[in-house]
Structures are given as structure tokens and as C-alpha cells.
């Protein structure tokens, strides 16, 4: 199973309600994935102040801000469950490099200037409280509830996979040739944090975007390379995209409204969104990429 939810807000008046709306959506996805949950929030200036970057870390040392503060300006660190979010007034890659230098054993699981990622194992409702999801504001967010199939129940194996600047990918399904593609990507020098099949897709998309592809093209390329079944939601600093494989046995429902675009694994998660009765609600066609731009 696994449950996916995502919300892309078009109306700035809704930005303060992002977390509350996501929290309601998440409630409809809990039974689909009780093993773990992760969230990503874009544009929350309380969590990533203007001019700062954020790096989400698993296995961070107790007081990462102390060591980082000697290298970088305006460092803060806050812990929520397994995830520690570190911010600093430098660009995201510099912050990630500094984190790796002071805590080489820690794993960076989110990096960006718009984005904060939290992931952990456990009941999604409890994790939403741990992450203080309801208080989040911003213009876009997504969450995933995991029913583990292809790798162990660990924080590293939880979604979302965020392996490029402001990039997030969540997945319902599994890939059957991920080991082959992982080997090929490793051969190109790309490093992995887990044995999870979804991480391979995230690294692949990140590599396509680094090649200059847009999100739509990257997901078409993914469809040509990956075997298996999937519904994917991929978000970037300005994009929101949904794709299903050609057989499309994994569910997905999209609702498009003048004030927002939302997708979820089931209608249950969309039922409480403001104005849902005026939204255009549809199931994505097999193999077709649906993308929205900010």
C-alpha cells in the first residue's frame, strides 16, 4: 500500500493553513502506511528563514549547532524525532558540506532553501505531532505514510527522498530493477544512503534535473528506465508533478481547484479540502506525467 498526499497552494491566503490542511489529508492516509511517515514543507519562513538554507539530518550529533557555528553564520538546529533540521545563512550545498564535515556519520536527507524534510518510523498521527505539522505554513507540502515492502523499516528508508536541492520524491509501489539502476548510478559516482528502491528513483530524477531536464522530461525518462509499479509525486522549488506507470494499479487521485492543486492515494484525504466540491477531481492516466508550475 503506502499513502501519498500532496498540496500545492495557488492562493497565498491559504499559506498560513498549509500544515493544518496537510494534517487533515494525512489523517486519510494513515491506514495505508502505519510503519513510518515523512513530510516536506516548502516556504515555511519560521523553519527556513529568508536568506537561509535548511538541511535535514538523520543521526545528527547532540549539539550540531555548536560545531557548525564556528564555520558558518547564524546556525540553528532543532530536533523532531529522528530528524534534526539545521539552518544557516549560507547556500544549501555549503551548509550540507559543513554538516558532513562536522558529522560524517550523519545522513543528509533534505537540502534546500525552500524545503524542510522530516522522516521517522512509527505511527503517522504521532509523527505529525512530533513534526508539529499542523503549525506549518508555506506554499507546498507533501507527506508519505509507509507500508514497507522493498527495504527495512528505518528512518533512512522512510519517504520522502530528498536528494537534490529543494527536490522531494514519494512513492507508492515498488521498482523491480532498482538494483541494476543503482549499480549504474554508483558507477557514475552517485552515492546512496539506503537500500531503498525509492531512493534510486530520487537519485535518478535528481541526475536528470542536473542534466538540465525539466520535471516532466525527467519523469518520462524514469518511465523508460524503471520497471515496476508506481505512483510518484515529485516536488521541486517551483513544481509539483504526478506520474503513474503504464499499468497504473497503484491508486492516485488529483483535485484541481483555482486556489490549489492536491493529490492523494485516495479520495478520503481530499474530502475536507476547502472548496473540494468545486474542484475538478480525476485519476491520472497511466504513463502520463501531470505537472504544475508555481
Amino acid at each position: 500500500m503506502c499513502g501519498i498526499i500532496g498540496l500545492h497552494l495557488r492562493d497565498p491566503d491559504l499559506y498560513p493553513r498549509l500544515g493544518q490542511l496537510l494534517d487533515t489529508m494525512l489523517a486519510g492516509a494513515v491506514e495505508r502506511g502505519p510503519d513510518a511517515a515523512g513530510i516536506a514543507v516548502y516556504g515555511d519562513r519560521e523553519r527556513v528563514p529568508e536568506g537561509h538554507s535548511a538541511v535535514s539530518v538523520l543521526g545528527a550529533p547532540d549539539d550540531p549547532a555548536a560545531a557548525l557555528g564556528q564555520l558558518l553564520p547564524a546556525v540553528t538546529a532543532s530536533r523532531a524525532g529522528a530528524t534534526t533540521v539545521i539552518t544557516a545563512a549560507v547556500d544549501p550545498e555549503a551548509l550540507a558540506a559543513a554538516v558532513r564535515s562536522v558529522a560524517p556519520e550523519a545522513k543528509v536527507v533534505g537540502i534546500g532553501s525552500e524545503l524542510v524534510v522530516y522522516k521517522d518510523i512509527g505511527n503517522p498521527r504521532e509523527l505529525a505531532e512530533t513534526y508539529d505539522l499542523a503549525s506549518a505554513h508555506g506554499w507546498q507540502g507533501l507527506a508519505h505514510t509507509r507500508m514497507a515492502t522493498e527495504s527495512a523499516i528505518t528512518p533512512e528508508g522512510s519517504h520522502p527522498f530528498s536528494v537534490g536541492r529543494d527536490l522531494c520524491l514519494v512513492h507508492n509501489g515498488s521498482f523491480s530493477n532498482h538494483a541494476t539502476i543503482r549499480r549504474a548510478l554508483r558507477h557514475e559516482g552517485i552515492e546512496f544512503d539506503s537500500e531503498n528502491d525509492t531512493e534510486v528513483a530520487a537519485r535518478f530524477v535528481a541526475a536528470c534535473l542536473a542534466d538540465g531536464d525539466d520535471l516532466e522530461k525527467a519523469l518520462h525518462r524514469l518511465g523508460q528506465e524503471f520497471d515496476g509499479f508506481y505512483t510518484l509525486l515529485v516536488t521541486t522549488a517551483d513544481g509539483f508533478a504526478v506520474v503513474r506507470d503504464e499499468i497504473a494499479c497503484k491508486p492516485a487521485i488529483v483535485a484541481e481547484h483555482p486556489r490549489w492543486v492536491a493529490m492523494a492515494s485516495e479520495f478520503r484525504s481530499l474530502a475536507e479540502l476547502p472548496g473540494i466540491s468545486q474542484a475538478r477531481v480525476f485519476e491520472p492516466d497511466p504513463g502520463k506525467v501531470y505537472a504544475w508550475q508555481r
Binding site: 479520495f267 478520503r268 481530499l270 474530502a271 475538478r280 491520472p284
Partner: protein
Amino acid sequence: MAALSNHPDDTASPQDSARDGAGVHTVDLTTATVRTLNAELHAPTARRYRVLSPRGAHAVAVGVDDELDIHVEGDVGYYCGGMNQGGTIVVDGSAGPGLAENMMSGTVRVRGDASQSAGATARGGLLVVEGTASMRCGISMKGVDIVVGGDVGPMSAFMAQAGRLVVCGDAGDGLGDSIYEARLYVRGKVGALGADCIEKEIRDEHRSELAELLTAAGMTDLAGDPAALAEFRRFGSARRLYHFTSERSGSY
């Protein structure tokens, strides 16, 4: 592809379960659980039911085994009307995957759209989707009649064994893949046919059957319009895959 429409405004009564003067038992799913609803339907104390505010809940009105009238006012999730036997279930909204799965008899009608696998493995009864149905509509149908007012998605009537499927709109690719004896009628465009599914001549007896099915589905305007009936095409099994032979393995 299925465009799932929206639930009407919530008009739930404050009580979760109540009987009005006309003997209609009302269950409000904002306060009652689906388990409570289905327990009531399995040991019914009324003949008519209203189900309020389902909001995409799963397994609404599953396993009905009596001639009950059940009116669901809103959108439902997975498996609504599954295993129905004798019930007349109307959903005033849209339905998620597995609608009326394995229905034996009775009627399930959805006024909006249905997600994938509507009528899967159903052995009897009538399933009506007034809007569109998504992929794999009628997969492995075994005797049910399905009438869809709009389109059906790819791979519909896959491995269909018996029954009739009427599609008033278009059908996606792979229609009737590995079909046995089910009969398919499509008014609109049809994508690439699945393995062993062919177009067949439509004779007077088929037009009569089609008119009967449309009438049973309440689409009497269409049923009484000879010009509209003439637009339907018939599809069924070429019966080449009944017995496996290696020469035909490429057809699978």
C-alpha cells in the same frame, strides 16, 4: 479516465442513526462507523436506508444479503456494494476502486464516476455508472451486467468470462483482453483491442439486448432512439485462446 466528482454539501442530521416517519433508517458516517452501518445492513431492522457523509469511506454497504434500498449521499472509497446480493444501492457521488466487486444480484448505481476495477469478478446483478469508469472496468466479470454512461479506461473487461458490458462513451486500449464469453457494446471510440477480442456483427437480437440493458439502467432515451442504438458496436471473443498452443503464445 475517470473524473471523480464531488460530494454534495454535508446535510447530516445530528443523530448518527435514526428512523424517520417513513421508516427510513438513517446512518450518519460522521459519527457512526462503517462497521456499525454494515452490521445494521446484515441484520436489517428497516427496508430503506440513508447513509450520510461517507466522505470516501471504504466498504460502505458491503455484503448486503436482503432486498434493501440503500441511498448513500456522498462519495465512497474502496469496495462499495461489494458482494451485494439483492440490495439496491445508489451512490449520490463517486466511488473508489472495486465498486460492486463480486456482486451476485441486485443493483448498484453510482451517479458520479467510478474508479478502477468496477464490477470486478461480479457474477450477477446490474451495475450502473452514470459518469465514467476508470481502468479495468468489468475485470474478470462472470455474469454481471454493467452499463456505463460515459467512458471506460484501459484494460476494461480484461479476462471477462460472462455478462454484458455497455459503454455509452469511449473505451481505452486493451478492451476485452483475453475475453471469454462476455458481450461488449461500445458507442464511442475504442482503443486498441486486447488479445483475442474482436469486433463482431451487431444483429437485431443484439440491438434488442442493448435496448433492454439501457432500459434496465434507466437510460430510456437512449434505449428508444434507433439512431443512437445504431452507433453501438459489438465486441467479443475470437475464441482463439481457449486452448493454449505454442503457436499462439505471441497473442498473450
